[in-house]
């Protein structure tokens, strides 16, 4: 069936099988492979993208359910060569090792920072309930998100 949506600002129209999951649409039809699959049970969060600004697990949504929405994936975070503050934060603070969970982490953090511009360490850890990382032990991820929060607050104030 016909699916119309906007992904990272680009309008698309594709014919998809209704049973196709959104994550497979993003990866295999839209060819945006930065969104990953890490589990089958909506736990790991590697597939997190934004739908109309809200973080969601794209493995637990049918592509057809996203009809008419605006989707942002990790590929849509930077503006040209200018990294998003969260991307900068993960780089500055060594918030990633193997990098597989990173896109999902960044998308969830984007939702968190949209709601709470100055989260505490405890709030960040709680917000990451739906994202697993096996490499970092999370501490540098927390710092990365704090870095981004500070930077976004400053640029907002300016």
């Amino acid at each position: 069936m016909l699916l119309n949506l906007t992904i990272n600002g680009e309008q698309r129209s594709d014919n998809v099988d209704p049973r196709m999951l959104l994550v497979h649409y993003i990866r295999d039809i839209a060819n945006l492979t930065g969104t990953h699959v890490g589990c089958e049970t909506s736990i790991c969060g590697a597939c997190t993208v934004l739908i109309n600004g809200s973080a969601v697990k794209s493995c637990t949504i049918l592509a057809v359910q996203a009809d008419g929405t605006k989707i942002t994936t990790i590929e849509g975070m930077a503006e040209g060569d200018r990294l998003h503050p969260l991307q900068e934060g993960f780089w500055e603070e060594h918030g990633l090792q193997c990098g597989y969970c990173t896109p999902g982490m960044i998308m969830t953090a984007a939702d968190l920072l949209a709601r709470n511009s100055n989260p505490t360490e405890a709030e960040i850890r709680e917000a990451l309930e739906g994202n697993l990382c096996r490499c970092t032990g999370y501490q540098h991820i927390v710092k990365a998100i704090q870095f981004a929060a500070a930077k976004m607050r400053t640029s907002k104030a300016a």
Binding site: P18, S54, K57, C59, L112, E129
Partner: protein, 286 residues
């Protein structure tokens, strides 16, 4: 990870959805947020032939206050409940319960109607719905009917929602003066579900309990009202909490799984009931 084929129907009204349900009967399933159904479909444990997507029935997502009651549409996401100014002001315990469901991503997508109708034995909402004496509106081709929370949860994954019906609204009485509620859960370390979750809503008259309602989830096959705890507290002061809470698991065939035995779950139910009641009382007094 790869659902079986099905026919997809997107509807824009409850009426259309009900018509499809009666047309396809048992072969059709309602798709709201999809966070209960799609996980089963991905593993091919559920293979409905028809999916009726009600996601576009926007009026079902509304949260409003009417005549002293808070009306929450079945499609309201956990996130919208968690952040609704109406819910935060009038039913703070429900907002807190919603905030403890799953994770940010799940809360952005999962719906109150989907969660209640699925009746996972470890879901959070049923405990709060029971303690808040919620009333569910079920629509069928013949009209609407209302079911009280106490009559809604029938068994494991089984509710009063009949084949061909849709849960369209959940209604709550706003918490009045002298009333406070708390929801506490022991989160399963992997799934995030409630190993045990306890919602306690208390109304005090002076220093004594006027009304106590305790909803417990996770302990058995379905969420339930801990009536023996409630009875034990009737008219008593808060020093009766510890003794009353010891009845939290009375008469319940407690679930065992790899994480927690029934015996441990029962103990968690008692401990969390006591703590929830104590904190609820503290809230009223504050």
């Amino acid at each position: 990870m790869f659902p079986a084929s099905f026919e997809y129907h997107r509807v824009s009204s409850v009426k259309d959805a009900l018509a499809l349900l009666s047309q396809f009967g048992d072969e059709a399933k309602i798709l709201a947020g999809g966070h209960s159904l799609l996980p089963m479909m991905k593993l091919r444990l559920a293979q409905p032939a028809h999916l009726v997507d009600i996601g576009a029935v926007h009026e079902l997502a509304q949260i409003q206050e009417q005549g002293g009651r808070i009306l929450i549409g079945g499609l309201a996401t956990h996130h919208s409940v968690e952040t609704s100014s109406i819910v935060k002001a009038k039913l703070p315990i429900l907002a807190e319960c919603a905030a403890l469901i799953g994770d940010i991503q799940v809360r952005n997508r999962g719906t109150i109607g989907g969660s209640l109708a699925h009746a996972d034995p470890a879901a959070d909402y049923p405990a709060a719905a029971l303690a808040l004496e919620a009333e569910m509106t079920l629509e069928n081709p013949g009209g609407k009917r209302k079911v009280k929370a106490a009559d809604f949860f029938l068994d494991l994954l089984t509710t009063a929602v009949q084949a061909g019906e849709i849960l369209t609204q959940v209604s709550f009485a706003a918490l009045g003066a002298g009333t406070g509620g708390v929801y506490l859960k022991h989160r399963h370390p992997a799934s995030g579900f409630a190993t045990v979750g306890v919602a306690a809503v208390v109304t005090l008259k002076g220093t004594n309990f006027d009304k106590v309602r305790v909803g417990i989830t996770g302990l058995g096959a379905k969420a339930f009202r801990a009536s023996s705890v409630e009875k034990a507290l009737a008219g008593k002061a808060s020093d009766a909490i510890a003794a009353a809470a010891s009845h939290a698991a009375d008469g319940v065939d407690a679930t065992s799984d790899t994480y927690a035995s029934g015996e441990f779950r029962a103990e968690l139910a008692r401990v969390y009931t006591r703590r929830a009641l104590e904190q609820a009382v503290a809230r009223v007094k504050a």
